[in-house]
């Protein structure tokens, strides 16, 4: 359990944002933490979609249950938060 800073690049938004998460958080929890700062503020919610996390510029989503500590992120590394049809 430790605070861990990530940088969120949220699909549809215009700016990277600092998102503090916890090393025990799953990728779903990372996506939810990032959504707080984009969805409903500058990005419309997309019913019927879930949010997935991938390394910035990557093509593969990280497993939804993977923990931050297991992902091997560097502090402040940028992650893409992408809408996926549920």
């Amino acid at each position: 359990m430790a605070l861990f800073p990530l940088t969120s690049n949220f699909e549809g938004d215009f700016v990277l944002q600092l998102v503090p998460v916890d090393t025990e958080h799953t990728m779903d929890e990372v996506a939810a933490a990032a959504a707080v700062h984009s969805v409903g503020r500058r990005v419309r919610d997309r019913p019927g979609h879930i949010l997935r996390v991938r390394r910035h510029g990557g093509t593969e989503f990280l497993p939804r249950t993977m923990k931050v500590a297991e992902a091997g992120f560097k502090p402040t590394e940028t992650v893409d938060i992408i809408w996926q049809a549920a």
């Binding site: 938004d13 215009f14 700016v15 990277l16 944002q17 503020r41 500058r42 990005v43 419309r44 502090p75």
Partner: protein, 501 residues
């Protein structure tokens, strides 16, 4: 006694180089301050300034300029222009004075470095006049806003902005420290005068003078026109220096300095001037879009200046040409969304009519930037104001110190340009910002961005209140919507009409 014509004696009188006997040339002109190009005094004697002016001429002309600007101010002091001005226009003045006024004094120091340490006699003469120009600009741009301080507390930022850690000021200081406060005399001439002043100061001052006159603010229009006449003279200090460097086999070093400074200037103007021209200035007073202005006054003019000089266009020119349609929309949305962190009240500039103008000038605006604004506007109309404010920091670039942003909505294209250096992960807003860092990493590596400072625990408490305190924004100074959201009424009415039908 007959007086010689200026050109009969000017060249001789300003040929003030001599051969030092008691010290070495390097002691008289230390390379760190005079420029480490290995060129002797004799090479710099070929420096030929295109704009020649003597001290008596300078004093006479400057006196007339001052008399003009100060008399307009005195005549209009009781006109209540400030009280009656559109709030968007007041924001333009506040942003301009805060970002510029104290920087003029800093520029005087940079001119003084050229005045003393340049090996080119002609440059020393021009920089002497340039130094006095900058002192005049500092004095005027502190004196003119002072009459408004008692009416509006944000006007105090004309005086204090440079002493704060407000994020835009960190960005401005980072840029000016890089191009003019920590460079040798020759680099200053290239980076400050040729790159920044020829290219971009023209735009800030010419564009704003036109907008000020349109807005009926003749005091401000006269002030900045008066300043611009000085800029157009001392901006010519760098050109002949570039010529000397190129003739002596130093084109690559010259080009690199131009490329670094032009990019930094562009980023700063994308946040300072872009929002002003395309969003704050009332629609009926807009002459050109920011992009049109950039294309006419910067792109065309700068391409010509570079080619005439024998330099190449910066390697990133295609990136730059694409960015002038995009970046400032993000800078506006970002500065507006994080508006409590500004010392002025930004105008949203997104009524249906304004959006139609934006769509015409920037096809696709509604499908990209407009998508973010749609959500924002719904929140305002619904009274859901909490969601119109941020709860975290935008990530800022470790070079320009401005938010890392891109195109939102249907054209989503936002990228980070990271770099790991000595175990620290840096983030950049563009390939160019990262390239600048890579040219001289040790020059920049130790700087902490506002986000780095937050993560290092330097901002306490770690919330908006702590951030505002860190930035020096006192209650009564923090920014909010320029028109108190009155512009949203039209959307409220549209919604009612839709419901009724």
């Amino acid at each position: 006694m007959a007086v010689l014509n200026r050109m009969d004696w000017y060249d001789l009188a300003r040929s003030t180089n001599w051969t030092p006997k008691y010290v070495t040339e390097d002691e008289l002109f230390p390379p760190a301050l005079s420029g480490e190009f290995g060129l002797p005094l004799s090479a710099w004697e070929h420096y030929d300034e295109p704009y020649k002016q003597t001290y008596p001429e300078y004093v006479k002309v400057q006196r007339e300029k001052d008399a003009g600007a100060y008399s307009v101010k005195a005549a209009l002091e009781r006109s209540r222009i400030f009280e009656n001005a559109d709030p968007g226009w007041k924001s333009v003045m506040k942003a301009h004075y805060g970002a510029i006024a104290r920087g003029e004094y800093a520029a005087a120091s940079a001119e003084a470095r050229m005045m003393r340490f340049s090996k080119a006699p002609g440059m020393r003469n021009m920089a002497t006049l340039g130094c006095m120009d900058e002192i005049r600009h500092g004095q005027m741009q502190l004196y003119f806003p002072h009459e408004h301080v008692s009416k509006d507390r944000q006007m105090d930022w004309a005086f204090k902005a440079y002493d704060t850690n407000e994020w835009a000021m960190i960005a401005a200081r980072h840029f000016f420290d890089d191009i003019m406060m920590t460079r040798d005399a020759i680099s200053v001439s290239i980076m400050l005068t040729f790159s920044f002043e020829t290219g971009f100061t023209n735009m800030q001052f010419l564009g704003l003078a036109a907008d000020a006159a349109e807005a009926g603010d003749h005091t401000f229009a006269n002030l900045i026109s008066s300043i611009q006449t000085d800029e157009s003279r001392h901006a010519q200090i760098g050109g002949p220096a570039l010529k000397v460097l190129i003739e002596n086999g130093h084109k690559a070093e010259a080009q690199k300095r131009v490329d670094i400074a032009v990019w930094g200037a562009w980023k700063l103007f994308s946040v300072l001037t872009g929002p002003i021209m395309d969003y704050y200035t009332p629609l009926e007073h807009r002459k050109q879009s920011f992009k049109e202005f950039m294309e006419e006054w910067i792109v065309a003019q700068f391409e010509r200046a570079l080619t005439d000089m024998g330099l190449d266009l910066p390697w990133y020119w295609d990136i730059f040409l694409k960015d002038i349609s995009q970046t400032h929309h993000g800078m506006h949305l970002g500065s507006y969304f994080w508006r409590p962190t500004l010392w002025w009240n930004p105008a949203a500039g997104v009524t249906p009519d304004e959006r139609a103008w934006l769509e015409e000038k920037y096809p696709g605006w509604n499908d990209t930037w407009g998508q973010c604004w749609d959500v924002f506007i719904d929140n305002v109309v619904d009274g859901n104001m909490a969601m119109t404010y941020p709860e975290t920091l935008p990530y800022v670039c470790n070079m320009c110190q401005l938010p890392i942003l891109g195109v939102p909505g249907k054209g989503w294209d936002v990228k980070d340009y990271p770099l790991e250096y000595n175990g620290r992960l840096y983030h950049f807003g563009s390939e160019v910002d990262r390239w600048v860092f890579q040219q001289e990493p040790e020059r920049y590596a130790g700087h902490l961005s506002i986000v780095d400072r937050f993560l290092a625990g330097m901002i306490q408490p770690m919330d908006l209140g702590g951030a505002l305190q860190y930035m020096g924004l006192a209650p009564g100074e923090i920014g909010d919507d320029a028109h108190n959201y009155a512009w949203a009424e039209v959307y409220r009415a549209l919604r009612e009409t839709r419901k009724a039908s």
